[in-house]
Symmetry: D2
């Protein structure tokens, strides 16, 4: 039942592309599904193109549109700033919002560099003292199967951890004639598969393990070194004339493979690639402990695979738990058992957890500190890859 | 992009329980995802309990609340009546709405009897002449994998159909002490697994096959003949005293198994049960033709399994198509490849198709005639089950 | 360790085609894998073509070759007669062997008619009084996963049985130009998919359930009514001239679908087809009880799927037991855990169980009585199919 | 049909434990299944314990038993020496056999050191000039699905290779109280999971890729550093008294994780572990190219998963090829489509290929050179692991 006295929480979102659409779904839906301590109001969305942002506001249900993110932050009806822009503007917007007294939800990866991330953490630390909340959007933590896996690990169901193995595989640039989009250029994207996919799996591995990587050894590869410039490409990339014949250099990794060690002695393997033909958005993770194992596949996100190693061998095996029971995280609010959730539900859950964190005044997870630590792992990966794979500690 | 000149289409919904929540999700989301010829407005919701319906309106985003469905139908801001009540009131509400000039979306099964369904079809026929639309809510047709399977069958990809086999299995009443809820009593529910689950699979089988069953042979069973009366049970069920010891008779089927024939010569097998321990909401369907086969499992609703029998045997096999590509039905409007949809998306798609049907003035599928025909199949199933399984033709 | 004092048990096999090759593998291998109370000796094989049977003897390791099955039965070095001929000669050979004092292993189905099967049972009964053993070759009972499933059912792991559903699907005659081989003619094969595949699944369903079907309702279909006569076809089939244009009538079923009831109140569904494109040898069986469920797929014969319904719903699900542990039936004698067995191992296990049955003097399972009962079910299926699917009791 | 003029090929086997039993199955069965240019005769088996080897000979069908491998090599009725002993005696036996003019089949890994392997290669080179054959027993190459995958790669079905990822996971020493058996001591086993499991996956990865690794980066771990001495352990391990309390150091790796580069630019990831709870004998390998992908799982060894990336995205996906068609490698000789083979069939196929190699006078694959190269990869892995994971070239 709706709480008639629930206060309103005004949200302002910066950016309205893929992530903006997903976050809008989250904010629009959350109040209809969950009993919340405060009712989110979709106050305003911000983008540079006035017509486009107005259309996006209409489409996604935002009450107002802004073209200057500083104006959005300044609005009185905005208490939460949701940052959905590309990584190179995260730090500036998030820090400004925090300093303006707003709560901040920032898309992953937290920033394009460790230095930026450190500044964001410092801003969040100061803001926390003022009762503000800052969260980074590693949304996969909010898939119910992942949340339940985390609970099982915390409850000791897999015992002492030995192995984590995780791969995040896509295939959208297998074709060598796929154009040189901004995601394939370091100056815009920071890195390639590593930052985009690798940040997710580093966060998930650490979140599920309940501990942090202390060092990594890595290898990265760029299989296609030059690609056609996209239509309307900037001149600086090679002076593309009318034709599509002009090509420019790919300056990010196509794939990153790395191994790592946890402080507890467990070991981990990671693979992130955009060249795994047939794997569209395949994120598989497995944890092996001395009392059991867990496995998850994002392509079947309502399922969790669990092996209970304390059972007699003749009766044991990986069981497929359909994570749709009311006892499972987030599920009590949804449909009856056996009714599947999808990708975007992770954003509804993220919105829910953000609202509760604000109401409770507790720091939500993943915090900006968590986001910074993932950046440090990625930086260590890049350093190792540059230094012939040598084992590289992750700074604490 | 949003069409600023799109006219508004006011929706009024009767009922706000499980199905009402799902339909609300559909109406609330559809305009943010799809480009529509008209913008649905959630005008009013109706229920008997004033406080509860008001709370439901707030929660799900309906502008107004009504306690009398006749008042809802009479509202000027309602052009579409969405009937989400139990089956015993479908006919009365839907016919009244059609006669009042409203478009109607009616939950499945269309009615609790063939006679009611026939009256609804007649009302829909007259309404169609006035440009009104009537659709029955077999939402699983709108799972993208099902819609794509239908397209493949229509394109001849499986050739001449030989077999359809389908089972819809649940397990929520395995426990003999599960109480005698209304769904287990014929006077309220009409039938048991047959009407609830069987109607879905009969519709899906015929929809995918592209043809209709001409006869069936059936067996039904009620495993647990008596169950505890629920707390607060009506006296008529046996004068339950204070204790929970009182039990009443289960008057519907727990499971229904039937076979059938299509006009083309293909054969089909069906099974609907609430006693399949471990199967939460498992709807599996397979079609075999002389050029290929298709298989689908609702628990993995983003996947479609296809075997191309025209390929060399050494290279062929069931392939798992992840139905998340922009070329797949409904998918262009959603997320990038590999990002899963869930159960409730079928209601978003249903809302989309209803809006287009109204705008186009074309009869939507499944029509009330389709709903009536499913009722006739179910009636033939019940008749066969009463007559020692004898093959029973389905009236045309 | 080998028992040096183990006595020898001479085996004589009639027939050396597909089944003969499989049985030969069984007899050749069993003594190297299992500790046996008697050592099987491959004394003689019998076939009508002297050259061919001599070659088969050499190839498969039989010491001698015979061209007259009566001569084979009469041999002093034959104590066990293994009948691998087509069904129309089972009764004559098996009865003669039993009357000659030999133990008999007879391929399934036991016979082509109930009357023949009854005569065989009578012969086996008399032979049993003389200490002889008679077994019918439903080899799938000896897949370790099936044997373990049977043990779990017997141990009460799935509780009170509610459902059995089983399908045996193949696709080798999907092409309408596949020739009219003997298996498609009633005079030779008795029936089509029903006898060939249906006999297996009726036996498995009853074996796993631990009880017998009491009645069935059935539908059979022949999709392709005429087929090209094979090269060298007998004139009687239509006077085929030189060309391949001549066609003859298919006189057996292509597919059989039936439902059934067990005495306990459980219900069952069966499907046997040779028209399921892409399903090569797919035998899937599932049992649902009130304490759990079991599922098996012959294409993954080292795996058993088990759902324990007594566990909390949030932690339960179908687990995939890899049936390769030493505690599993037959497995102690084989490889370490995780090393797969194949189809032919069922024949090694069958040979093992036959040897032990002879040594123990106990009637082996499945007995000729079991084989007769399966014939009675199949006869009831055919009767029901002829009588508009009407429910037809299985004679006790 | 058997070729009556086929000459006999006498086989002598050294060792009769797990591998000896598997090889025996291969030699015993091969002639009954395949048409061979020469008929293998199981002449003699060799082991140190006279009684035990005699029993093994009886059980597995070897005509004679020897207790001195030099005597076995010297026998006139032995033309092929099959070396199934632990790795530390491979070099001595294999070289002696080659120098005595015998063909040699040697179990994997070829040797415990690169130096030994080099000496074996040199002996094999000299023997080849005399027409002798030397093969190393990487039996998994002979799983039909692997052989077919190799053919597909060679035919260009996956195009330019980008990724190989492979893991071989077991769980038999998860329990910290599992005793300190010889496999966990470097002086006997050479290495742990790396040599035992890693050798298989390095061979498979290179075999399927059709090219060799040029460098690796590796991390190894021993999770349990001390284990209980087994009953009857040698005194040198710590002077175990009567009790089971004495423990000794584990001196091999429990797990090895490594990445690698192929000369073509493709990258690979490897993981071998005995600590993956619930994974009994799980060997999974996937290859991604720019035209397609292949995946295989040893626990489902009759299946091959193939994605054809040249098909339209909407219709493509990983297909499950059941590798049981007569067109598949080795399958024509076996059962009809859909009938599964098992682990030991790889040894039957190995025996077949060895016989053909001898008859044809061509060097079989994998050759001793192939075995040496795998040893060099493993040595580079160990070197990298000792040097902080630094990228370590594999000597050519």
């Amino acid at each position: 039942m709706e709480n008639p006295e629930a206060k309103t929480l005004g949200v302002g979102m910066v950016g309205y592309a893929f992530m903006g659409a997903a976050h809008s779904q989250g904010w629009r839906t959350v109040g209809s599904v969950f009993d919340l301590p405060a009712r989110p109001a979709m106050s305003a969305v911000c983008g540079r193109d006035a017509d486009a942002v107005r259309a996006a506001a209409d489409r996604h249900g935002w009450a107002a549109a802004e073209t200057d993110w500083r104006a959005l932050i300044a609005r009185d009806d905005v208490q939460v700033v949701d940052v959905c822009t590309p990584g190179d503007s995260h730090a500036e917007i998030a820090i400004a919002a925090l300093e303006a007294g707003k709560h901040v939800l920032c898309e992953k990866p937290l920033a394009n560099s460790v230095a930026e991330a450190e500044a964001m953490v410092e801003a969040a630390r100061r803001a926390r003292e003022r009762g503000q909340v800052a969260m980074v959007g590693f949304n996969y933590r909010r898939a119910p199967a992942i949340a339940y896996a985390r609970r099982m690990v915390a409850d000791g169901r897999i015992g002492v951890l030995r192995h984590v193995r995780v791969a995040y595989l896509q295939d959208w640039i297998v074709d060598p004639d796929f154009p040189l989009v901004w995601r394939l250029r370091r100056e815009y994207a920071g890195s390639g598969a590593l930052g985009d996919l690798g940040s997710h799996i580093v966060d998930l591995a650490q979140h599920l393990a309940g501990e942090r990587l202390i060092g990594v050894s890595a290898l990265t590869e760029t299989f296609i070194r030059e690609r056609p410039l996209p239509a309307g490409a900037v001149a600086g990339l090679g002076g593309a004339g009318a034709g599509g014949a002009a090509r420019g250099p790919v300056t990010v990794d196509d794939a990153a493979l790395f191994t790592g060690r946890f402080g507890s002695g467990a070991v981990a393997s990671f693979e992130a690639s955009r060249f795994a033909a047939g794997r569209k958005n395949s994120l598989r993770i497995e944890l092996n402990g001395d009392r059991g194992s867990l496995a998850f596949d994002l392509e079947r996100l309502n399922e969790l695979s669990f092996h209970d190693h304390t059972e007699p061998a003749a009766d044991s095996g990986f069981r497929r738990i359909l994570v749709t029971e009311p006892e499972h995280p987030y599920l009590e609010a949804w449909w009856p058992p056996g009714h599947a959730l999808g990708y975007e539900h992770t954003f509804v859950h993220q919105a829910r957890d953000m609202v509760f964190a604000i109401a409770d005044g507790t720091g939500p997870e993943p915090s900006f500190e968590d986001g910074l630590q993932v950046q440090r792992v990625l930086a260590a990966v890049e350093e190792s890859a540059e230094k012939s794979c040598v084992y590289t500690p992750v700074p604490v």
